[in-house]
Each structure stands twice: as structure tokens, then as C-alpha cells.
Symmetry: C2
Subunit: 400 residues, 2 copies
């Protein structure tokens, strides 16, 4: 138990993706002693995330509550990014250039009209664009695009740079990073009290924050009924790059001026440009368990739909393709807050929105760790909102 000799740890965060790193950083900034355990910080779902900050466009698929949480988190992003930049000198590629949602054919346009109704019922003001206005806004769009909706305040960030900055900021604020896998939660006297690491040692802490993404569900050592019902939802993305010749020809870095989300013959695809010249195309959504293979079919579908919307992508250089595992939940909303097990805080299940929701999750969890008062924002995201589901999953895990 070599870690026992360390000074008293206030918080052990299990998981070093954007959620865990951000919580650790914010908690350390408030003076807490924090340890983050992750064998490969930043290399989970974060590594395969596109970094869209689009609560409005995501609202099409989500409940009012997650939309409000996303809006709340987006408002925190400028300060969050600036604070990271001040602490580390590292940029995270934050830009707030909007999202253009477009429809390819008339059926897609009907879907977009429904999307608009839903989004406006949430009180969002969207600018409706004709086909011509879409092309004025984004000249690289295919002339066939039928119409669009502009969400001017949406943003984006580079998740790999974000993870790198968070890691540096966290360590700069005094967080101790343990690059080991957690093999088991350790409970003492009915309270979460630490975690056993791959080397057999136990890291004790007053509070345990479980932020291990989809792997949170199968964490050994959790009492029955406590494991959050998260499952891996595979997503493949492709990173493309504009060439020097394109830049010389006056094309914007990443070919587009802003994030474009399209409906192409009923399929969703998004294209996220970055100032670095990257254009991220995503994402598949596959229920295949913990499989992270990039497949020929995944690449083909993404390229097919992206090329239909923006034919000019064919000239872009291929940088890489990766697959990540999003932590999906039964209602697509995250799980943030307490459980029946004292000493445990859940911060997982962020599904497609982990990067967007990192600031609000980190701020509210860090505040709770200091004050002991749960944030009212957590109410809609409580772990006990499907007690049956949690128990069923727990039983499945136990049967393996």
C-alpha cells in the first residue's frame, strides 16, 4: 500500500478524459489534494471527439434538460479556455463561429423543419437560410443543398489540445497523476474510501469521483445497484487537412468557415473545421461493445456523406481515422451526482457531449467537493433516475 504514505488525499478521480481532468483541475484550484488515476489520460473517447460545442444542434436529439445544461456549459467555455491558456500557455482551439445545419434533399429538409420546431420550442432563436443563403454562408457546400439553420453562437474546440492543456493545468495546480488502471473500488465501513491500482497498491481518498466513461459501469467493487448504466457507443471519425495550395488559393483553414452538420438522405454527418487546417468528419454510432476498430465501412459512410455535402473534401489530405467509445446512457443524458454509496460522486455518461459539458461538470463537482452541497443543476441527471436499469446492468455485470 505504497500510496498510503502520501499526504491525505481529498479526492481521487478515476478516469483522465476531459471530464476527469477538468474536475481534478478545478478541485485542485480550490485547494483540494487531488489524485487522478488513468493509464492513458486523454486517450479514450476524448481522443476521438470532434469537439463540437453545439448545444443547439444537439437539442434535436436530446431532452430540454440536457440542452439547458449544454447552454450553461457553453457560456462557461470562453472563461474556461482563457483560464487554461493563462495557466499553461496552451491554446485549445476554442472558436465560436457558429453551426450551420443543412438539409441535402427535400426529405432531409422536412427533417430539418421538425428539428427547427423542436429547437425553437426550447426558446432558441435560429436563423433560417435558403439554399442560396447556405452557399453564401459556406461557398464549398454542394449546390444541391436545399436549406439550413444557422446557430451563430455555437463553438468548437480541439479535444486533443484541450486534454493536453487540462493535463498540464491539473499538474500545475498540484494534481498528482497516477498512470495506472484502477482494478477495484475500495469501500470501508459502507463508504467509498479508495481504489486499488494495477500495481496492487490502494489509493485512499475522502471522496472518489468515478469519471471513467463507459468503463464506469463495470468497475469492480461497487456495491449492488450503484454502477451507473453506461454502455460503450462506438464512434469513428476522420481527420482531414487542407493543403498549402488550398490555403494559398484563399480557402479557409479546414475548408469551411464554421461547423456544418448535415442531413444527407436521412443520415447525419458533421464537418468541424479548425484553425490548424484540420477538418474533422464524424461520426458513426455503433453498438458493438468495446470495439475500437476503424473499419472500411465506417470510413466509406463518412466520406460518402461528407463528400455529398462538400464535394471539395476529396482534395483534402487524409491525416488519420480513429474510433472512440462514448459513454451512452438509456436517455442519452449524463449521470452527475451522488449515489446511495457515501463518498462516491459519479461524473460519467456524457455520451456525445463530454467535451461540451466538461466546464459545467467540473465546476459543479469541484464546488460540491468543497462545500458538500449538491448543485441544483444535477437534479435532472441523478444516478437514481432509472433504478431498475442500474440494477439490471449490475446483475449483468455480476453474471459475467
Amino acid at each position: 500500500m505504497s500510496v498510503d504514505s502520501q499526504p491525505q488525499t481529498d479526492v481521487l478521480v478515476i478516469g483522465g478524459g476531459v471530464i476527469g481532468l477538468a474536475i481534478g483541475w478545478r478541485a485542485a484550484q480550490q485547494g483540494l489534494q487531488v489524485v487522478i488515476a488513468d493509464p492513458e489520460p486523454g486517450l479514450g473517447a476524448t481522443h476521438a471527439a470532434a469537439g463540437m460545442l453545439t448545444p443547439i444542434a444537439e437539442a434535436a436529439y436530446a431532452e430540454r434538460e440536457i440542452f439547458a445544461l449544454g447552454q450553461n456549459s457553453l457560456r462557461r467555455y470562453p472563461g474556461f479556455a482563457a483560464d487554461l491558456q493563462r495557466s499553461t500557455g496552451l491554446g485549445v482551439g476554442f472558436r465560436q463561429s457558429g453551426t450551420l445545419q443543412v438539409a441535402y434533399d427535400s426529405d432531409d429538409l422536412a427533417i430539418l423543419a421538425e428539428t427547427r420546431q423542436l429547437q425553437e420550442s426550447f426558446g432558441v432563436r435560429l436563423q433560417q437560410l435558403s439554399a442560396r443563403e447556405c452557399r453564401d454562408a459556406e461557398p464549398m457546400l454542394d449546390p444541391a443543398v436545399r436549406g439550413g439553420l444557422l446557430a451563430a453562437d455555437d463553438g468548437s474546440v480541439d479535444p486533443r489540445r484541450l486534454a493536453a492543456a487540462l493535463l498540464q493545468a491539473a499538474e500545475g495546480a498540484g494534481v498528482r497523476l497516477v498512470r495506472q488502471r484502477v482494478t477495484e473500488m475500495v469501500c470501508t465501513a459502507g463508504r467509498a474510501a479508495g481504489a486499488r491500482l494495477a500495481d496492487g497498491s490502494v489509493a485512499p481518498a475522502r471522496w472518489i469521483v468515478l469519471a471513467a466513461g463507459w468503463q464506469s459501469a463495470g468497475m469492480p467493487g461497487l456495491p449492488p445497484g450503484i454502477a451507473p448504466p453506461v454502455r460503450p457507443v462506438k464512434g469513428q471519425i476522420i481527420r482531414l487537412r487542407t493543403t498549402a495550395a488550398m490555403t494559398a488559393a484563399g480557402l479557409p483553414p479546414g475548408l469551411l468557415r464554421r461547423t456544418v452538420r448535415g442531413i444527407v438522405r436521412g443520415c447525419g454527418v458533421y464537418l468541424v473545421p479548425r484553425d490548424s487546417g484540420e477538418l474533422v468528419v464524424g461520426a458513426t454510432q455503433e453498438e458493438l461493445g468495446p470495439d475500437t476498430a476503424v473499419t472500411a465501412g465506417g470510413l466509406w459512410e463518412l466520406l460518402r456523406d461528407a463528400r455529398t455535402l462538400v464535394p471539395g473534401i476529396t482534395e483534402l489530405e487524409f491525416a488519420d481515422a480513429v474510433a472512440g467509445l462514448r459513454p451512452g446512457t438509456p436517455d442519452n443524458a449524463p449521470i452527475i451526482g451522488l449515489t446511495e454509496l457515501p463518498g462516491l460522486v459519479l461524473a460519467t455518461g456524457h455520451f456525445r457531449a463530454g467535451v461540451l459539458l466538461a466546464p459545467v461538470t467540473a465546476d459543479t463537482v469541484a464546488d460540491f467537493l468543497c462545500t458538500g452541497v449538491p448543485d441544483p443543476l444535477w437534479r435532472a441527471f441523478a444516478a437514481d433516475r432509472w433504478p431498475g436499469a442500474a440494477r439490471r446492468l449490475e446483475e449483468e455485470v455480476a453474471c459475467r
Copy 2:
């Protein structure tokens, strides 16, 4: 001139692709002192080659002479591969499981019928297969495939393993590998006498073999009219991989039993399975100068056509995608033999067939270097078959 202190070099081979490495190995086996100069042996066109040994299928695009040369080289392959295996213990993935040429729609079937006429005019016996026979031969083919031609004797090899084995065999036979770029041919008294290397030293030799692929054309120091008219023709390939689950389900490694070359709505695509489980899909053919970017459009076209022929590829894992530069010539045939410059032997311009033609090129060049007698096989591939073209290119190079 630090290299001058080395023992007398009989042969300096400029270029360490499959052609240069095979020549160096065969010449050293015959007792010659050989130096091969290449900053990155095996990493040019060889690295992006699929390794089809299909003189029959290639005959559709080529002249009778290159078909005969390909047949000649294919006959040498079993011995060539066995000799490499004996010398190094390394396999090169050689298999002789045939090529199935298939047509996707009725227009493609008409093209295939023309191909058959041409191939049979060369004296090749091909087995014509109905749609049903195609699927019996290759159960993973799409049911829409209309018909095919089976060339039972065609083979394939893994070019990366071939380059690794050739490199080891060459060094084992006494070849000295100089991992430097050649900056200039050095001529003395009207004879090719050596080459200047990137470090400024000169490597002298009795014979210079120029086997630098597409870069042979721009070699500084060649007298006017001597540079071979080769140009870079970009080709992109994708390497896919069958999964453990597919193997467990009884699918053949690489999903197919043999190389499949398809005509899909007028476009050519090929799929080459390997015993390792790899399936290589190729290849684009692009006239873009010395550009080796893998592009979104290249990937998309290859995946589109391969998927049309063999829908099951969508489940394969993506391994990588690379682009190489084939040395193209005005008539698509290689340039092998002497020029007006004494001391120089050309072995370049192998275009799409470098891997296939390596054995016959290496054997005949090595024999010439020992005997001084040019091989009659070279007659159709002489450097002076387009004196005008060679001069024009030389002038273009001189104007830069």
C-alpha cells in the same frame, strides 16, 4: 572523396526499391562488388505496391512485349522467392492462387469481353466464368457481378516483405548499402564513373545502374539526351485486415481466395488478399507530379468500388493508406538497358509492374554486368525507342 578508399566497386546501383535491391543482390551473388545508394530503401513505390503478379490481367493495358516479359518474370518467381527464403529465412508472401477478373454491370461485361479477345490474341488461355461460377469461385462477390475471367497461374507477393528480404539477402551477399541520396551522376572521360552522395563524397564504380524509379529522369549530371523519360504516376492503396471473428467464422484470410480485379461502372479496382489476413485495395492513378498525399477522394473512390464488388469489406479493419509514385513511361513499358553514355545501365520505368518484373530485370542486368552481353529480352525496352521524347524531357529538366 572518402569512399575512394573502399575496395574497387564493380557496380553502383542508384535506388533501393525492389528493382535496385534485386539487381544488387543478383550481381553480388555472381561475385561482383556492389554498392546500393538509397536514403530509404524499400520506401518508394515498392512500399505502396499491392504485389500483384498478373501479367495476364495487365496485358489488357499493355503491349505484347511487356506481357511476354511479365510471363517470363512470373516463371522466375517461385525460384526467386525460394532463393530469398533460403538466403534469409524470410518469406515474401508468394502465392500463386490466380486472378479473377470480374465485370459489375453489362457495360463492364462488354469491356471484359474486349479484354478477353486481347488476352487470347496473346495466346493466353483464360477460363470464362458465368455470374454463378464467379460466386462459386469467390463467395464474397456481390450477386450483381455479371461474369468473369479466371487466370489460374497468376500470383501475388507482399512487396514490403519482399523489400525486407531483398535488403537482407543483398547485405548477406556482400552488398554495401549506403543510406544516402545521390545528388549527381559523375562522368569521367565520357563514361559514367560514379555518383556524388548527399555528404559530398563520391562513390566510384565501373558500372552505374540507374534504378531510381521516377526520380531517374531528373538525375543531375546526366549528359543531354540520356535521361530516361519517366514521370511520377501517383497511386493510392488501402490496406484492410480481416478480424479474428471473421477467421473464426471460416472466412479466408483477406476475405478472398485469390486476387480479384474488377471493372465497376467503367472504373478498375483490385483486391489482393494475403495469408496474413490483409486485403489490399488499389489503386488510383493520378498525374499530379511528385505528390504523395493520401486524399479523402482517393480513399472514397477505392472504398466505393471495392465495396460494390465485395460488400463484406465494410466489416474489415482499416490498417493504413499510402500513396506511392510509379515510374511511368510514354508507352507504359520499362526502360532496361544501355544508353549512349558508356558505363550506364538503365533499369527504371517499370510503372505498375515493378514487383512483377523484378526477377527478370535483376537476372538480366546482373548477367550483363558479368558478361558484357546485353540480353535479347531488352530489345523492346531500349532507352532509345523514343529519342525525341527523351530529349524533350531532358530539355524540360534543363529549363527548370
